[in-house]
């Protein structure tokens, strides 16, 4: 059993969180800066009746995770940018076939091999749009080792609830940063179990396309003889290659997330009421941003803070409402400007939107954010 209070890095905290959530299968491939997650789970999973396997590449890793999930296991993989790119096709498959799974992306500087040992938040749009076709995923961004643990549990809960791949988009800084992590006793951790089909076997259908409800699942080997395909399919899982069915399936994949945004989305807010400027950030950047906000408030500026714990689905409604009330948004990210595009889209020209980008490798200097806040407040 892990000690309840420990000084651990984010990567280890994610691994422990996954185990606490009930994950018992990990397949992965070494890649900096995510490797510690695999290392920890290779040691820990055999201790808890789970299984770890190092696959031949990231494509195989996500494949094995999907297979394990369909056999009933809560399963995850962990990677970084290049591996995340390789996984995209199968992420689309998991979205289409509605296979619960969790993927941890410990972001590093890109593109390509880029800055393997340095921090970044450059995969945020890839998380959203990385695979071909229209679909939805959920992406959570922790800002500390403690939140790595907490969000790992939440990621599995969401994945099981909505039958959707859930990403934990952490980064090199949080992944390798050591802080105190409190691991609550098992009975105090809320864990969502898969919604297993309970009715007669003949009535079982692996899918329903109501746009809201998520069909219950069964395990391979339980005698349901189910079929799963990445082709457009009907309620039985059989290929149904028509434009009508295509519309039905895609609409469902999107609506099951979009119609539940209020339940899924978590945003931390501070000082929004009456603010002239709102700083929107996520992950490690939000900690840096708070420092800038503190300085700005000392200087008499009215600054609010929004920290996106859930980045996807995006909290569109909140941004739309705020845009009409404030002078401007400031959006610092460790990339060339990704989530700022969403903020711009939702604010629809009603207020200023200032991107404070950092092309990867290092967290912001709080001064840069402060300068942008002052600019936005003008």
């Amino acid at each position: 059993m892990p000690q309840p209070r420990r000084l651990v890095e984010g990567n280890e905290a994610v691994a422990e969180g996954a185990i606490a959530a009930g994950a018992r299968f990990f397949a992965g491939y070494p890649i900096t800066p995510s490797t510690e997650i695999a290392e920890v789970l290779s040691r820990r999973l055999p201790q808890v009746g789970g299984h770890f396997i190092q696959m031949e590449d990231e494509i195989a890793s996500i494949g094995a995770v999907i297979g394990a999930s369909l056999a009933g296991a809560k399963a995850l993989t962990a990677t970084s940018g290049p591996g995340f790119s390789l996984m995209q096709e199968s992420i689309g498959y998991a979205s289409m076939a509605q296979v619960p799974c969790v993927i941890v992306d410990v972001m590093r500087g890109g593109p390509s091999t880029g800055l393997p040992t340095l921090t970044a938040q450059q995969d945020m749009m890839q998380a959203r749009w990385g695979s071909h076709g229209d679909y939805r995923i959920i992406a959570l961004v922790p800002d500390s080792p403690q939140e790595c643990f907490d969000l790992a549990v939440e990621a599995f809960n969401l994945s099981e609830t909505y039958r959707v791949p859930v990403f934990i988009m952490t980064d090199e800084t949080v992944g390798h940063m050591h802080e105190k992590v409190v691991i609550p006793p098992a009975d105090q951790i809320q864990v969502v179990e898969r919604n297993w089909h309970k009715g007669p076997k003949e009535e079982y259908r692996p899918y329903q396309f109501t746009g809201k409800d998520v069909a219950p699942m069964v395990k391979a080997g339980d005698g349901y003889r189910f079929h799963i395909t990445g082709l457009t399919h009907d309620e039985r899982g059989y290929p149904a290659l028509t434009p009508e069915q295509g519309k039905k399936v895609v609409t469902h994949l999107i609506e099951k997330i979009d119609s539940n945004v209020d339940k899924i989305s978590r945003v931390e807010e501070d000082g929004i009421d009456g603010a002239d400027v709102v700083v929107i950030s996520y992950g490690i950047t939000s900690r840096i941003a708070i420092r800038a906000v503190q300085d700005a408030r000392k200087a008499g500026l009215k600054v609010g803070v929004m920290r996106l714990i859930t980045v996807w689905p995006f909290c569109e409604q909140k941004i739309r409402e705020l845009a009409g009330k404030i002078k401007g948004f400031v959006v610092p990210e460790i990339n060339y400007g990704q989530i700022v595009l969403e903020v711009e889209r939702c604010s629809a020209g009603k207020c200023k939107v200032i991107s404070v980008n950092s092309c990867g490798g290092a967290v912001h200097d709080p001064e840069e954010i402060l300068t942008a806040i002052k600019e936005a407040a003008k």
Partner: protein
């Protein structure tokens, strides 16, 4: 708030020093600590550094901006990081490995023959613990008691008592050198 940089070369237990201090602070001294380290190819042998931020409140910015304490266990580390140490800051260095240059009055310099002390305590591998004891006494950033509590799990069990002995040696030397900073005293 303390911004502390531990530096030296790979194999000296630099990262371990930061981990022990971070654990001591956040689990046993009731404060917040955030520890980061240089990572990647540059962390395998050669220069090595680790950063620790200690605060009464939650640490926001996880890296040192202007370190108030620098521990340098190699000449390279001194040359690289001493200029970044804040004016009036504390410089702790292994006196047989580092020949300090520059303005001696800019910062408070605390030399220690840590390697020799460690050898006297049984093995030069305990050098980092000697330094930690010294650091604890000189800065008061972390209590000796918390440091010792943090050791199990971070040093091999069979060497625990020797590590504690090495820590004590450094601590006593530190108390004598700095004119007694009481254990656990906050700055």
């Amino acid at each position: 708030m303390w911004e502390i940089k531990f530096s030296g070369f790979g194999g000296q237990g630099i990262v371990r020093c930061a981990l022990i201090t971070g654990k001591a602070i956040s689990l046993y001294d009731g404060k917040f600590a955030t520890m980061t380290q240089s990572f990647g190819p540059e962390a395998r042998g050669g220069a090595c550094q680790s950063q620790l931020i200690i605060s009464d409140n939650r640490v926001l910015y996880p890296y040192c901006t202007v370190p108030g304490v620098l521990i340098a266990l190699s000449q390279e580390a001194f040359d690289l990081y001493e200029p970044g140490l804040g004016d009036g800051g504390i410089l702790i260095y292994e006196e047989e490995l580092v020949k300090p240059s520059g303005d001696a009055a800019r910062v408070k310099r605390y030399p220690i023959p840590a390697t020799r002390f460690a050898e006297e305590a049984g093995n030069r591998l305990f050098t980092n613990l000697v330094v930690l004891g010294f650091f604890s006494a000189v800065t008061g950033a972390c209590s000796a008691d918390a440091m010792k509590k943090a050791l199990p799990g971070l040093v091999p069990d069979r060497f625990l008592s020797k590590n504690i002995a090495a820590f004590d040696k450094g601590y006593e030397f530190g108390v004598a050198q700095s004119g007694a900073v009481a254990a656990g005293a906050a700055q």
